[in-house]
């Protein structure tokens, strides 16, 4: 497994004043995996994302990507090294068309506008947004915006794609579409980390799940193991419901 170790988070800790947003979190992701990070609201999932991608400074711990120490490097440097991400609330460039948005991501690896356009069109065909290439990004539905955000990330040709709640707020049909898209992305050989609340997606997609609660990693395992875990049930439903469990 070590040969294909892609991301290695060692004892990540982040404090906001007295609040422990992340406390000594360690986990590893190997190439080609889909890892899910779940946990109740306020568990520190997005904070962890921001620490890994350089938006927050870690107070303690290290992050290694392909063996390279990327702890507290600048977000754009981490992007260049091959880590792309999306946001909880889809962030697109609102006064650009869909195609131009994706092209902006493509400029990371190509310089000539023509090459970038080709790359962007290829990505849009892959994510199913080709028909809306000339739409203004602002005019897209929530679902399409999330798809666009994934497209922008893919145009950066990442090795690791980190999706922050890409399923939130989608209709069941849109949800299926997004799950399929993530499967397709993995088939391309891209490793994926998702932060997700939608358990249907977590169960279906994940090779491995880690569960955070109050800033700490409480459990990790396969999806089946994790949902049966007492600690996890307690974290989600509280102590009283735990008493009812067999």
């Amino acid at each position: 497994m070590n040969a294909s170790l892609l991301l290695d988070v060692q004892g990540a800790s982040k404090y906001f004043g007295g609040l422990q947003a992340n406390e000594d979190i360690s986990f590893q992701v190997s190439g080609g995996q889909i890892l899910s990070i779940i946990g109740p609201n306020g568990a520190g999932k997005s904070t962890l994302f921001n620490c890994i991608t350089g938006f927050y400074r870690l107070d303690k711990g290290r992050v290694l990507f392909k063996g390279l120490d990327i702890t507290n490097r600048k977000p754009h440097t981490i992007g260049k090294l091959g880590v792309a991400r999306t946001f909880q609330i889809a962030q697109v460039i609102s006064d650009m068309t869909v195609l131009e948005n994706v092209m902006t991501g493509g400029f990371l690896r190509h310089v000539r506008v023509g090459d970038v356009r080709l790359k962007a069109e290829e990505v849009l065909a892959f994510t199913g947004l080709m028909a809306k290439g000339n739409y203004n990004a602002q005019a897209l539905s929530v679902s399409d915006k999330k798809r666009l955000e994934v497209s922008m990330a893919l145009a950066m040709e990442p090795e690791l794609l980190m999706l922050d709640e890409s399923m939130a707020g989608l209709t069941p049909v849109e949800l299926r579409g997004m799950i399929e898209l993530i499967h397709k992305v993995r088939e391309r050989g891209i490793t994926i980390i998702v932060v997700e609340h939608v358990m249907e997606a977590v169960m279906e997609l994940s090779d491995w799940v880690i569960v955070l609660n109050s800033g700490r990693k409480i459990v990790e395992g396969s999806p089946k193991e994790v949902v049966a875990d007492r600690e996890v049930i307690r974290a989600y439903l509280g102590d009283r419901y735990d008493a009812v469990c067999p």
Binding site: H76, G79, F87, D95, M96, E100, F107, V111, V113
Partner: protein
């Protein structure tokens, strides 16, 4: 970005032909207005690169305009350096100043950036106002030299000035178009949307913001050098005041920020209006010219917030 179509080429060629022929037909005051218009068009295009595309609302462009004017004039008067070399030297100096002030401001956005830019320009103005070596508040009177293109001096006619500044504007437009259709332009627009989005896409926000400021400062400085060689007298009150910075922003915003040609259209409307209303109405001392000017600005910002050109371009796009 769309490519230039044949139709656009014809319209552009026609406008250019008018601009080349027009100065031949009008009296000197008209030529003066054309020159002023083109000076502000150039500054507007320069502002647009950092303000319209990269979202950095500078209200301090007068500093770069002034540095351009002072650098070439000082070099000419002290070391007898050709204004053409002074033009480049001023541009480089302005870019360096822009980088020096832009770097510590790299986290500032929106209003805060605007305030910082005003502060910067005011500091530069006050500095020049007290700097004896460049004439302090008295300014510099640039000596009249023999009329020639090499000397950047023309005494008998304003026409050569018309064509030089026209060439400058075309140069600025070419730079703007090159920037806006390249990687840099896409990155500027990403930065304008949000620093976070840009960073995620791998954009070095600090560096690209500096690029925008430096390009803008260089072009603005060129216009400043031109102004000095045209008027042949500069002082901080005429080339470094806040009113110039505001005028530049108005030209770009009302014409249509975020479009290559918008600032030129804005200048073509605002500057003649301002000059002619002052010439016709201003002498009465009623301030009537300022009222008309104010009403127009209010009207455009209320009904055409994307600027005149922005609105026109929108109509054209919808028709397609």
């Amino acid at each position: 970005m769309r490519n230039i179509t044949g139709k656009q080429l014809i319209v552009g060629g026609a406008v250019l032909a008018v601009l080349i022929i027009l100065p031949l037909l009008i009296p000197p005051f008209g030529q003066h207005v054309v020159i002023l218009t083109l000076i502000f068009a150039m500054c507007g295009v320069a502002w647009n690169i950092m303000g319209g595309y990269a979202g950095m609302f500078s209200f301090g462009q007068a500093a770069f305009f002034g540095i351009g004017a002072y650098t070439s004039s000082f070099l000419l008067m002290t070391f007898n350096v050709s204004p053409w070399i002074g033009l480049v030297a001023g541009g480089i100096l302005s870019s360096l100043m822009a980088a020096a002030i832009g770097y510590p401001c790299s986290k500032l956005r929106g209003h805060y950036f605007a305030i910082a830019s005003i502060a910067f320009a005011e500091i530069v103005r006050i500095f020049f106002n007290n700097w004896e070596m460049v004439g302090a508040a008295e300014g510099l009177t640039i000596p009249m030299r023999q009329e020639s293109l090499a000397n950047f001096t023309f005494n008998s006619s304003k026409l050569p000035y018309c064509y030089i500044i026209l060439a400058f504007v075309l140069f600025a437009l070419a730079v703007c178009r090159l920037v806006s259709t390249s990687k840099m332009g896409y990155y500027f627009r990403a930065i304008k949307e949000s620093h976070e989005v840009a960073q995620v896409l791998g954009v070095n926000v600090v560096r690209y913001r500096l690029y925008a400021i430096m390009i803008s400062a260089f072009l603005t400085s060129m216009a400043g050098t031109f102004y000095a060689q045209y008027i042949l007298y500069i002082d901080p009150a005429s080339v470094m005041v806040l009113a110039i910075s505001v005028q530049i922003v108005l030209v770009a915003m009302l014409g249509g920020a975020n479009t290559v040609l918008g600032p030129v259209v804005g200048a073509a409307i605002l500057i003649p209006l301002s000059e002619y209303s002052r010439a016709w109405l201003g002498y009465k001392g009623t301030g009537f010219d300022m009222i008309i000017y104010g009403v127009l600005i209010t009207a455009i910002s209320m009904y055409r917030p994307n600027g005149v050109w922005g609105a026109l371009a929108g109509v054209v796009r919808r028709e397609k």
